[in-house]
């Protein structure tokens, strides 16, 4: 997947997971919802790992997983280059 496609997937699955989180806050015993939440979070995490491997850290502390300090590297999310 291209950087943009990968990022789009992370945004999509992350959004879905967050939505499921909000539902679970008011329905904590809903087993089906919790199972879907687990799937969505797992998928998001998998995609994030894949993204970071190719394109560098997504959080400041994950910058520790690389050989040099990449956290400050361009582009930043609000810049044109980050939005293909």
């Amino acid at each position: 997947m291209s950087r943009a496609e990968l990022l789009n997937q992370i945004q999509s699955y992350g959004f879905a997971a967050y939505d499921m989180l909000l539902y679970l806050d008011t329905h904590p015993k809903d087993k089906k919802a919790f199972s879907m939440f687990k799937q969505l979070v797992e998928k998001t995490n998998k995609l994030r790992k894949e993204y970071e491997k190719e394109h560098g850290p997504l959080t400041p502390f994950s910058a520790a997983n690389f050989d040099s300090f990449m956290w400050l590297d361009s582009p930043w999310p609000w810049e044109k280059e980050a939005n293909v």
């Binding site: 943009a4 990022l7 789009n8 992370i10 945004q11 992350g14 959004f15 967050y18 989180l21 909000l22 806050d25 008011t26 904590p28 850290p57 997504l58 959080t59 400041p60 502390f61 930043w76 999310p77 609000w78 044109k80 980050a82 939005n83 293909v84």
Partner: protein, 67 residues
């Protein structure tokens, strides 16, 4: 406590910049009755909530305004 994720919630590509519209949007977010103020109220008032559900709910809704 919070952690920053270095990506937007969805891509943004502005073809025709419109500063007046941008001003309206940012005022909606940060101005009176805006989401930013609401977020801080959620995050401040969760400490007085009586049970886990309401503590969690206010936390997660407050958090959502930063996504």
């Amino acid at each position: 406590m919070f952690s920053y994720n270095k990506f937007l919630a969805h891509p943004i590509r502005i073809k025709n910049p419109n500063p007046r519209l941008a001003n309206i949007v940012i005022t909606q977010y940060g101005g009176p009755s805006g989401e930013l103020g609401a977020s801080l109220r959620y995050l401040s008032q969760r400490y007085t909530m009586p049970d886990d559900v309401t503590k969690g709910l206010l936390t997660d809704i407050g958090n959502a305004e930063y996504i």
